[in-house]
Symmetry: C4
Subunit: 207 residues, 4 copies
Amino acid sequence: MTREQFTRQLAETIRMYNAKGWSPATSTNYSFKDMDQAIWVSRSGVDKSQFSASDFITVNNLGNAVGEFKDVRPSAETLIHCVIYQLFPETGVILHSHSVNPVLISALRKDSIEFEGYEIQKGFKGQTTHDATVSIPIFDNTQDMIAFASTLRTNATLLENHAFIMRKHGTYAWGKDLFEAKRHLETLDYLCEAELKLAQIVTPKAK
Amino acid sequence: MTREQFTRQLAETIRMYNAKGWSPATSTNYSFKDMDQAIWVSRSGVDKSQFSASDFITVNNLGNAVGEFKDVRPSAETLIHCVIYQLFPETGVILHSHSVNPVLISALRKDSIEFEGYEIQKGFKGQTTHDATVSIPIFDNTQDMIAFASTLRTNATLLENHAFIMRKHGTYAWGKDLFEAKRHLETLDYLCEAELKLAQIVTPKAK
Amino acid sequence: MTREQFTRQLAETIRMYNAKGWSPATSTNYSFKDMDQAIWVSRSGVDKSQFSASDFITVNNLGNAVGEFKDVRPSAETLIHCVIYQLFPETGVILHSHSVNPVLISALRKDSIEFEGYEIQKGFKGQTTHDATVSIPIFDNTQDMIAFASTLRTNATLLENHAFIMRKHGTYAWGKDLFEAKRHLETLDYLCEAELKLAQIVTPKAK
Amino acid sequence: MTREQFTRQLAETIRMYNAKGWSPATSTNYSFKDMDQAIWVSRSGVDKSQFSASDFITVNNLGNAVGEFKDVRPSAETLIHCVIYQLFPETGVILHSHSVNPVLISALRKDSIEFEGYEIQKGFKGQTTHDATVSIPIFDNTQDMIAFASTLRTNATLLENHAFIMRKHGTYAWGKDLFEAKRHLETLDYLCEAELKLAQIVTPKAK
């Protein structure tokens, strides 16, 4: 697949997630690594309902725009993407969501959320059964991206399920390709939606 | 209707259910019997938002891919489909959903869920009035498909409403054709959504 | 507007309501009066996601198919439509919905549901302010359409807001044209959704 | 961008919001200022699912239709738009929503709703961090638009976040262009949805 074909697929996914309400207005950011290992990230300030394949720019490992894009603003959270590529070198795509479900779960929990018994847990690479407990870390939000990058490095061992939640902000999920990254992002959202609805139950045995 | 026309219709239904959130990423599986009574099942690992008419393969009664598809992986849950075709020979289509509604109902109930008084209950073939109680069985989930096939055979008498729930996994529903199978799957989901929302009610008479 | 143009518009509305989840599988039925005052009703057993302009048949005042459609089955609830046209002769279109919101409201109330203070109440023809109480009757469901027709005639004075709810079944709403009928159906659904969500509130002043 | 291109964009946004359920039937109204500073407002009584670029008319500062549109009815709430353009001269687009989320929040609060800690708060122009409290005023609804215009003028200092809620009616949000106005409207709706769902939580720590 050429980079043009890939960016069209990723742009389509971004618009689809916007239609689900996962990226109100300009929120969220996305990235991928091309065949030359260059990192491409979504440019800042684009309405995600209109996101197109040409809205990506190249950045270096410090999250700064380079080359022809030198004067274009990458997403403010670009550094998060760079750290994930460094911690997990097999990563090819990183997705970000502001879906309400994980945002509310993070308002109800402290450092992590645990799921157990759901078949969908197998959506996380490495999980092979529903009969297990999956833990996803919840980090406090911050406007200091350098501090947050440090938090991720310090807590790398908690990222074994290829996703994390930023409190009252959103989720990041990644994979070796778009297919895998989507599976991780959507699995986490589904589980958060399930736990949120369970927490709204008043009369479990009511009929 | 030719098999090509039918698989296009079924693929469209599969993509439509994915858009509803009923099959995150690669989850769920679907099957049908063709005019020669051969069983076709969805191949494993396909993103259901991209499912196409060519993503079906033929399997034998043991759930193994045969013929030209000998080396392709059928869905892991293929054996479930084979058992349903054996227990209910008039079955033509089997659908599977990971919709959150039945998954959460199964977290709140033990062996079954009962519905009564809903007009939509008539959506289950054999039900002719709202003034009745419909029972849908809930089976524990398992990664052992041979064990689960056995569970289905043992509990065949509970499957009179052409659907069942696997705990914290999803639903299976079937019918003589796509139209009937859809009606069973959607009726069950609607009823689970209704009961779930009722269980979230705090102040029934509030105004 | 010709009848062909009108039926295409109404069929589009029917498919749109199906996409909203208001008519799972074959449920619901719709009708209109043409320029010759003939009543056309949706034929029975059509998947509403596939409903087309040619899926209407003519019936007489008793709800029986006539003319070229003599051998086609009209919707089982056709008699309800005939009674509404008789009680309210200016009616041009009648819509029916199985949306979960009013269905659940009817499980929580007895003979009626009252709304007050919502701007959207002005969506009911005759209502000119939010500062009023609007009452919508809830009738018990029944499989006996002749009995239900009688219930409607007996309670005609309660139908001043051009809509009613059948318990754990759905809503009927009507108007002089499609635009007005839609406004009545959607206004009622919106109000039921609002009251249902309010009834799920645990901590009103929580922050 | 020509006015024709702009009205096509705004009409597309209006239809998109209608598909989200934010403008049942004919509810809501929208406006923009063209390059000559003339105010264009949506005409009254149009089904927003069918709204087109030609459904705007020019009004003067008193909210009355002028010029070629002299005999067309502007939206009843046109005066609200005129006041906002006067209070905030850099405003280019004003949007209105009847989404259930803010409507229910206004049923649960008195004069305002506060949000704090959400990353999405940065969607309001002027907000630069999640670590702040954002206050959005809630005004009582009224059918007297002249009285409401006066209320807005009196409370102009509360409108610093470019949006307000009318109790059990809906929201108004504005910005220098469509992009900014959408961001304000969607940010407010997202925050109201979040707070509403939190208020439905029964067992926060349940697992």
